[in-house]
C-alpha cells in the first residue's frame, strides 16, 4: 500500500515535470535552467507561466479528489462529489458575491510585506460550508440519509445557484460579467506564486485534517449508528469534515472556478486499485487527482493551441460519461438503501 502511494508520488512528480515542458511553445529545458534568474523566454515560460500553473493544477486536482473521497464516505453515496452536491456551486456563489461586493478588500499578509490576498477564498469557503450543511439537512429524514434525495437536492440546489449566478451576472457591468463567466467555466490560468502558495496551504491543511480522520471515515461508511457503536463521535466528525472540506473547496473554487468530475472519478478508480481503507485511499486519491488534472490542463492548453480551453470542459468530457456509467451500474446493482 505504501508502495502504491510511493509510485503515485513518483508519477506525480514526473507528470508535473512533463506537463511543464509540454505546451504550444517548444521549450529549451537546459537554457531555461541556466537562465533561471535572468530574463530569457524559455525560463520565463517554464518558471513564471507553466510551473505555477502546473503546481496549481496538482493542488486543485488532489484537493477535489480528496474532497470527493470524504464526501462519498460521509454520505455513504458513491455518486457524491463536491460538484454534484452543489457544494462547488455554493462556493462559486460565495466567491462571486465576494468578487462583486468586496473586489478591493485585500487581506495584507505580514503587514503587507508579503503582498495581499483577496477575501474571495473566505467568502467561497462560507458559501461551500453553508450549502453543505443545507444539502445535508434536506436529505436527512428520521436520521437517515437517502442517496437519491441527496443527489436530487444537489441537482436542484445547483440549478438554483446557477439561476442566482446568472442573475448576478446580468446585473454587473460587461467587463465583470466576462470575468465571471470565464471563472465559472473552470480554468487554471497562470497565477502568481503567492496565490499558488496560499492555495497549497489551504489544501494541505484541509487534507491533513481529513487524513487524521481516515479511520473514522472507514467506520462511518458502515452507517452512523454502527460508527457510533464502534466508538466514533459522529456529530463531531461530521462537523470537522464539513469545515475541512469546505475550506479546501472554497480555496479551490476561488482560484479556478468549478472544475467538475475530478472528485467523482478519481476516488472510484483509486478504490478499485487500493481498496476502501481511507487511511490509504485518501493520499492515493490526492496524488492521482493531481496527476489527472495536471494532464487534463495540459490537454486544455495544447488541443486548440494557441487558443486555450477551460480545463473544466476536458474533465467534463471524461467525467460525464463516467458518471452515467456509474449510475447505470448502481442501478443494475440495486443500490441498497
Amino acid at each position: 500500500m505504501i508502495l502504491v502511494n510511493g509510485c503515485l508520488f513518483l508519477l506525480l512528480i514526473l507528470s508535473a515535470l512533463g506537463c511543464s515542458l509540454l505546451g504550444p511553445v517548444p521549450l529549451d529545458f537546459v537554457r531555461a535552467f541556466e537562465n533561471i534568474f535572468s530574463p530569457d523566454p524559455s525560463a520565463e515560460i517554464l518558471f513564471r507561466t507553466r510551473l505555477p500553473r502546473v503546481l496549481l493544477g496538482v493542488a486543485i486536482g488532489g484537493g477535489m479528489a480528496a474532497c470527493g473521497v470524504v464526501l462519498q464516505a460521509l454520505l455513504r453515496n458513491p455518486l457524491a462529489c463536491p460538484q454534484m452536491l452543489g457544494v462547488s456551486g455554493g462556493a462559486s456563489l460565495g466567491g462571486i458575491l465576494g468578487l462583486i461586493f468586496f473586489p478591493h478588500w485585500l487581506l495584507p499578509i505580514a503587514g503587507g510585506l508579503l503582498g495581499e490576498i483577496s477575501w474571495v477564498p473566505l467568502t467561497a469557503f462560507l458559501g461551500a460550508l453553508l450549502s453543505m450543511v443545507l444539502i445535508y439537512r434536506f436529505s436527512l429524514f428520521h436520521g437517515r440519509l437517502h442517496p437519491y434525495h441527496l443527489l436530487l437536492s444537489g441537482v436542484i440546489f445547483n440549478s438554483f445557484i446557477a439561476a442566482v449566478i446568472m442573475f448576478l451576472n446580468s446585473i454587473v457591468d460587461f467587463y465583470q460579467a466576462q470575468g465571471l463567466l470565464f471563472w465559472l467555466m473552470g480554468s487554471l490560468s497562470t497565477r502568481a506564486y503567492l496565490t499558488v502558495g496560499f492555495i497549497w496551504i489551504y489544501i494541505v491543511i484541509g487534507f491533513l485534517w481529513l487524513w487524521t480522520k481516515g479511520l473514522s471515515l472507514n467506520l462511518i461508511t458502515l452507517g452512523e449508528e454502527a460508527a457510533m457503536q464502534l466508538g466514533v463521535e459522529t456529530g463531531a466528525l461530521q462537523r470537522q469534515i464539513f469545515v475541512a472540506s469546505s475550506l479546501m473547496i472554497g480555496a479551490m473554487v476561488s482560484v479556478s472556478g468549478m472544475i467538475g468530475f475530478v472528485g467523482l472519478m478519481i476516488p472510484h478508480v483509486m478504490r478499485l486499485i487500493v481498496g476502501s481503507d481511507h487511511r490509504l485511499l485518501l493520499p492515493a486519491s490526492f496524488l492521482a487527482g493531481g496527476i489527472f488534472l495536471c494532464w487534463a490542463d495540459t490537454l486544455a492548453r495544447i488541443l486548440l493551441a494557441p487558443a486555450e480551453l477551460p480545463v473544466g470542459i476536458i474533465t467534463a468530457f471524461f467525467g460525464g460519461p463516467f458518471f452515467l456509467f456509474l449510475l447505470y451500474r448502481e442501478g443494475t446493482k440495486k443500490l441498497a438503501l
Partner: protein, 260 residues
C-alpha cells in the same frame, strides 16, 4: 458487584410517540437475556438506548456508572452491537470489516498493531469466518455476513454483546448456528448477552431468561417456562397457541392453533 446493565423507569419517545414507557430492568454480568415482543414493542429501541445511540429519559447505569459519563470510545470497549441491518456500500474485505472492531483500541492515526490482528483472527476463528477473510463482504451469503458482523463485535473485546434479531434473514440451519454461537460465547467466553428475538421457540431453547415487552413496558420477565404461556402469547400476539414442554420441562415449545 454492580449489575452490567441497570435501567430505572426508562422512557423514550420518537417525537411524541412513546416507544419505551417506564422500563426497569437489571441484567447481571454473565447473563443471557432474550428480549421478546411484537413489532413496535420497543425491543430495538431498548438496545439502542443501551448502546447510547439513543438517549432516553430515566436512569441507565452500566457497571454501576451512569451511561452519560461514558465516552463513545470507552463505551465501544464495553458494548458491542450486532445490528439488524448492515448496509455496506463500499467494497471492504472480511478482514477489514473485522479489524474495524479494533478502532477504539488503537490510535486513530495508526494502523492496526499485532495485538489487533491477533484479536481479529481469534474472533474470526470463533465465528468460523476465518476461511473467507480475504473475500469481499458483499460477495457473502446472509449467514456468512452475519458471522462476520458478529466477529467484528467480538473484536471489540466487549463485556456485553447486544444483538438485534441476529437470525432474522437466515434459514433454519444458520439460525440454529447463530443461537449456538451466542450460547457458546456466553458460557465459554463469559460474555453477557442481550438479544432482541423474534422466534419464540428458538428463544425458549437457548435463552435461560426472557423479557417480554409490550407497548414499551415489561410485561413478563423470567424463565421461558414462566414467560411463554398460552395466556401470555394470546394476550400479546392475539394468536391462540398450544405450549408443550420439552423433555426437560424447562424449554416450552409453541404450536400455533388459531386461526387454523
Amino acid at each position: 458487584m454492580n449489575p452490567a446493565i441497570r435501567t430505572n423507569n426508562l422512557t423514550f419517545a420518537y417525537k411524541d410517540k412513546p416507544v419505551l414507557d417506564g422500563v426497569s430492568l437489571s441484567v447481571e454480568s454473565g447473563e443471557m437475556v432474550g428480549i421478546l415482543g411484537p413489532n413496535g414493542s420497543g425491543k430495538t429501541t431498548l438496545l439502542k438506548v443501551f448502546s447510547a445511540v439513543l438517549t432516553g429519559q430515566g436512569e441507565v447505569k452500566l457497571n454501576g456508572r451512569s451511561i452519560k459519563t461514558y465516552g463513545k470510545r470507552e463505551l465501544s470497549r464495553l458494548f458491542a452491537v450486532v445490528p439488524q441491518e448492515n448496509p455496506i456500500h463500499f467494497p471492504y474485505t472480511v478482514a477489514e470489516i473485522v479489524l474495524m472492531g479494533r478502532a477504539s483500541y488503537h490510535s486513530p492515526l495508526a494502523l492496526e498493531g499485532k495485538k489487533d490482528l491477533e484479536v481479529a483472527r481469534t474472533s474470526m476463528e470463533l465465528t468460523d469466518s476465518l476461511s473467507f477473510s480475504d473475500r469481499y463482504l458483499h460477495e457473502l451469503s446472509g449467514g456468512e455476513k452475519q458471522r462476520v458482523i458478529i466477529a467484528r463485535a467480538l473484536a471489540q473485546e466487549p463485556q456485553i454483546l447486544l444483538l438485534d434479531e441476529p437470525s432474522a434473514f437466515l434459514d433454519l440451519k444458520h439460525q440454529v448456528q447463530i443461537f449456538e454461537l451466542m450460547r457458546r460465547l456466553n458460557r465459554e467466553h463469559d460474555l453477557t448477552i442481550v438479544a432482541a428475538l423474534h422466534d419464540l421457540n428458538l428463544a425458549a431453547l437457548f435463552f435461560p431468561r426472557l423479557v417480554m415487552l409490550r407497548d414499551g413496558r415489561i410485561y413478563r420477565d423470567g424463565s421461558p417456562k414462566e414467560v411463554l404461556t398460552e395466556e401470555t402469547i394470546e394476550e400479546i400476539y392475539g394468536i391462540k397457541v398450544r405450549v408443550e414442554p420439552d423433555a426437560s420441562n424447562e424449554r416450552p415449545q409453541i404450536f400455533i392453533c388459531s386461526p387454523l
